[in-house]
Symmetry: C2
Subunit: 192 residues, 2 copies
């Protein structure tokens, strides 16, 4: 017999995948239950707030997962430009492997629902802030002045998010790979 902890994690993972691939409005509780393989009856036990509460948990889960992936890529890089290009390459590879379904796990919900659900807006905002903090903290070691780190980290995150969006829209990873190369060169040039 599966433990309740398993069921909770399965609901969260299934929801995270569906939100990433198709967004909030296209995702129904029936589809989440079917995808999770967990017993339907336990859904409201774990998530009495229903779909919105489940989406909040899924966004937090995705945010943590992306944070861990970013951390590994950023810590392996020896310059800001190298980090930007490495993150973009990892995101582009995933986009191609999933036939352009697996983009940013937060972006679709942020655009669809954030202005209408304070809970989802906070969850999306928290993930983005966390990723940006991670970049910001690494910047001084790559020669970015501490007083510029917040703004440069914002620029890097904005560019990568927009490039992921354009790569999905064109069904082509060229925008992502090219934007990363250009931003890496521009930031190195501006610092030199």
């Amino acid at each position: 017999m599966k433990s309740p902890i398993d069921s909770r994690a399965r609901f969260v993972e299934a929801t995270a995948e569906l939100l990433r691939r198709q967004g909030y409005h296209a995702t129904g509780l029936k589809q989440i239950v079917a995808r999770s393989g967990a017993p339907r009856g336990s859904l409201y036990f774990h998530f009495p707030g229903g779909k919105e509460q489940l989406a909040e948990a899924a966004l937090e889960h995705s945010g943590q997962q992306m944070h861990a992936e970013l951390l590994a890529l950023v810590d392996a890089a020896s310059s800001l430009g190298e980090a930007i290009v490495a993150v973009a390459a990892a995101l582009a590879d995933r986009l191609e492997a999933s036939e352009f379904l697996d983009g940013c796990p937060v972006a679709t919900v942020a655009l669809e629902a954030a202005a209408r659900s304070p809970a989802l807006q906070r969850a999306c905002s928290a993930s983005y802030a966390r990723w940006q903090d991670l970049i910001e903290q690494r910047l001084p070691r790559w020669g970015v002045a501490p007083e510029r780190a917040h703004a440069v980290a914002n620029l890097v995150l904005c560019t990568l998010e927009g490039a992921l969006l354009l790569s999905r829209a064109h069904a082509d990873t060229a925008p992502l790979r090219s934007a990363a190369q250009q931003l890496a060169a521009a930031l190195d040039g501006a610092r030199a």
Copy 2:
């Protein structure tokens, strides 16, 4: 009596507004008819393909409208940095005036539906390509080498799109205004 042309335009405008504010899946035909004020019976006369065909027309309409706005802002700017900051300021003002509902008119549908509907994917892709072409064509006069214009225009569009997304997610236009300033400075620095 309203002409059929009025009804068509009203359906398209109502759909464009709903897609921009809440996306494709949250938007139903009943809501479109109610918002448009046009007679329900004429919907399938103008759009026998239903919601998907209507969304295609709405995306094209929004793409043209944004193209005209970008053209005016870009033509009034005397440098690449000035153009980037002016476009970001206009987008940020609109976001604030609409309580963070009016972001990019194409992005939400691109993320929700583009990987599942070839027609919507083409419509989103066409709008982005058109905006990027407009930027690309103006770059040589601002000192960007013609062979770099395509890649720089892609970087500018990616950054603005991602910054719009982050500003909606945080319900704060600071990411958009800051990213534009930073990109303007980085591109000027790299070219100098």
